[in-house]
Amino acid sequence: MNSKPSEELSPQEQRALAALPRERAPRPELEERVVAALQARGLLHRHRPGGVRRWIGLAAGLAAAFLLGYWLGARREPEPPPQPPLGQWLLLLYENQGPWPADLTEADMPRIVEEYRSWARENAVGGERLELRGNRISLVAGEIDSQIVPGPEDALYLGGFFVIQAQNLEQARTIAETCPHLKYGGIIEIREIADMTE
């Protein structure tokens, strides 16, 4: 405290100072005000746009059936669209069937599933995995042509999708680039969902 003993705090003074509150939560509205001010200055993005992931080239061909099987139960509840002008975009998740990366094992699956789950919570308003076995037919002019629907045995097949919201293709791409699917060797096709409302 102070160098002069006579100016030291008395025990009562010390107790009173120690009893003063050190924290007081600001009004909740202030958080929204600060976030809005940061966004207005371009210092904060509403969604995590992010740059291209460093690990895109990590591995080709993670066994997607295994992954998506976990992923189904992990899908989050959709949240309301943050802004009316945002359009909806479909991220089609294609899987490469190939050898697992050497540094990944089945023990890594819970962590990978959590990555998908976390990403969906932050970025997607919907999503589904597609059934990987059976019930896959194509109808061509009323005829069944099973040859044109790729499945897990094929080099590339559709394993699931996410629905995200973005103002334009560039923003949708930026969001898609943060999806862990890319890091594990998957391919994402981005398609705009047509607005059919009046």
């Binding site: 003063l20 050190r22 007081r24 939560a25 202030l30």
Partner: protein, 181 residues
């Protein structure tokens, strides 16, 4: 320290991706402490404290990339908040308040009501209040205070002594206002 690591992790997520969630987490971790600190520095004026807290975060975000993590994030944010509070006071009052008379007052030997103490701190001149809050409430060292306020360490010590005497005068008055001189 685990707390510091978490701050660093969140700050990195924010800097790398502009992650709103990471920012909100940082805001919620540190704002209650900053808010109380600012309220005390600003004499309990809630609206001014809110404005200063918002400005603190705006500046912190702008400068976060330059922060070297040589101190804790809490300490760094506290320094920014202090400057914001000082600027807010200058806007409101047109300058630093004058110092208070320091008639000798005995130590307070009876129990002190917290509200009364808070009121007495709020009534101190700005310079006294800053040093007393930083040292006796926020537990900053004189070296830290000297750096934050741009004063000598000796000045911080003498200001604290005078601030404590002024506080005792106010507490001894039973909460009556004392004329600043």
């Amino acid at each position: 320290m685990e707390e510091s690591l978490e701050d660093r992790r969140l700050a990195l997520a924010f800097l790398e991706r502009g992650d709103e969630g990471a920012f909100r987490a940082l805001y919620r971790r540190h704002s209650p402490r900053l808010n109380q600190f600012l309220l005390r520095l600003l004499g309990g004026r809630e609206r001014d404290a809110e404005d200063a807290l918002q400005e603190t975060w705006m500046r912190a975000v702008e400068r976060l990339r330059q922060f070297r993590w040589e101190s804790s994030l809490r300490t760094w944010l506290g320094g920014i908040a202090l400057n914001c509070a000082r600027e807010r006071r200058r806007q409101d009052e047109g300058g630093e308040a004058s110092e208070m008379g320091e008639a000798a007052a005995p130590h307070v030997e009876r129990e002190i009501d917290v509200d009364r103490l808070e009121g007495a701190i709020a009534g101190l001149p700005d310079g006294f209040r800053e040093v007393l809050v930083l040292h006796d409430v926020e537990e900053r060292t004189h070296e830290e205070i000297a750096q934050m306020l741009g004063i000598a360490v000796g000045t911080s010590k003498s200001q604290l002594s005078r601030a404590r005497r002024a506080l005792r005068v106010r507490l001894g008055e039973g909460g009556h206002e004392q004329q600043a001189v």
